[in-house]
Symmetry: C2
Subunit: 295 residues, 2 copies
């Protein structure tokens, strides 16, 4: 049985991202530099790796699937670039480097985000056609669009931003909404797209979706914990920033111990959900890596 | 033979936009209000109308095609919202109303643009599946993504922005690049998507593409002329703004008479290109309406 060898997947995804991003000698160079700057700044490539694992688990081939893996990471990166903008979270550093708008200016940063989002859909609709049935590609692309929209990623970001400027009436509920959408949607879509393109059954898809919900939540709770107990070098971003910004986090709502307890429950639920699926060892390891990580 | 009845198409497109945009009672309401505000602010719906005409011309059915028409207009609107941002053109008015960021703030305006772009791809991949073959849908969606990316719409906007802050070494060439990409790409994609989904042949597509290039250019030249000789009420935006901003326009590069002459040539080339196609009377009328308009 295969392991969830994140380093191996990271390398694969980095290679395909490098090959699909426009070169900086293509006109107009500035926008291509800005796109490459943020996408190739590093990162664990967690979402595309989860997608590949799910794809392999249902009999798919990792290499054929790489355009979809790349598309998922482009959407993740676009959302980070736009989130970091002065009008949003106003962040100066990301993955240990100055944020996109700090280097290229706001206008180009906005357009680089737009371009990555657009390129993601170009990859999905143009680069998978020889390997998968058109119907499955359409279904996967529609899932990616839905997960990225106002019922997913963007919805989470909207509520996150609005919750910072106003009194939140129900903090636990708001917090769950933000993260189920801002983090959870794309993680869920990644796993589902991997499964859909490999031809998973409806029942298998349902199990994957339940697993993804616990995984996304557990991942985010760990993120909030690490913002408090982690160190900046490991995180590649300003630690303690959530507290400073008085952000709603799992630690601010439930305390450190309550957050740890919740993370543990998410991990256990991930494992329980996987009992229904054969060959799920890599996803068990992924849950361990996402929820029990120390950086 | 059908006329290019723009008013009829405008109504059709408005109806379908209204039905596909999320309602303002859907959570989170703010982003849906912002999306609806800009999309439903009016506008001629020229691009989707051209797409419908091309679709009908090659035997397609306008009603089946409406999700694609809506997607095209959503991409056009997203690009306007982002272009108007303070970091870009910093415009206060659009279609006679305050721009999106003036009403909802910059963060929500950026996210509303993102959400419209995303929704466009959701419509393309999710709402056409019962009416067209999956292969044709994929091809059309890939064309839309390509035309919206750094080889299209975004490329044009990047060069437009950079040309304002730096001395342009070759104004006519830069001007042509900006408009072939910023305006031309989406107009071309609209006509091509209409034709592709209706099953046009390669040769027919080639003729449509040539026509689209002249139409897009002629449309933009007329826009530049009207910015100088038109009045604000007709335009729904600040007239003379290009001149004030010392923008590169067809009037600033070729003078008013030179621009008029170029517009006339574009119109004639449109008609010549259509000689190769049967049933092209509506596209002749569209060329007249786009290039010879007075507002």
């Amino acid at each position: 049985m295969k392991d969830f060898d994140l380093k191996h997947y990271t390398l694969l995804v980095n290679e395909v991202l490098e090959s699909y991003l426009p070169n900086t000698n293509e006109f107009p160079p500035t926008i291509h530099e800005a796109m490459r700057y943020s996408v190739l700044a590093g990162g664990k490539r967690l979402r595309p790796s989860l997608a590949i694992v799910a794809h392999e688990m249902f009999g798919g081939n990792a290499l054929s699937f790489l355009p979809a893996a790349a598309a998922i990471e482009l959407i993740h990166t676009y959302s980070l670039i736009h989130d970091d903008l002065p009008a949003m979270d106003n962040d100066d550093y990301r993955r240990g480097k100055p944020t996109n708008h700090k280097v290229f200016g706001e206008a180009i940063a906005i357009l680089a985000g737009d371009a990555l989002l657009t390129l993601a859909f170009e990859l999905m609709t143009h680069k998978l056609v020889d390997q998968y049935s058109a119907t499955r590609i359409l279904q996967s692309t529609a899932e990616l669009a839905f997960a990225s929209g106002t019922n997913g990623l963007i919805g989470g970001q909207v509520v996150d931003i609005l919750s910072e400027s106003a009194e939140v009436s129900n903090p636990p509920q708001t917090l769950d909404y933000i993260h189920a959408h801002k983090t959870g949607s794309l993680i869920t879509a990644s796993l589902r797209i991997g499964a859909i393109l490999a031809g998973a059954t409806k029942q298998e898809l349902a199990s994957v979706t339940r697993y993804a919900a616990y995984l996304g939540l557990g991942f985010q709770i760990r993120d909030d914990i690490l913002d408090v107990v982690g160190n900046e070098k490991d995180l590649g971003k300003t630690a303690g920033k959530d507290q400073q910004a008085k952000k709603l986090t799992y630690v601010s709502v439930y305390g450190l111990q309550g957050a740890e307890e919740r993370a543990r429950k998410c991990y256990e639920s991930c494992l329980t959900t996987l009992d229904a699926l054969g060959g799920s060892e890599p996803l068990r390891q992924a849950a361990d890596l996402c929820i029990n990580r120390t950086k």
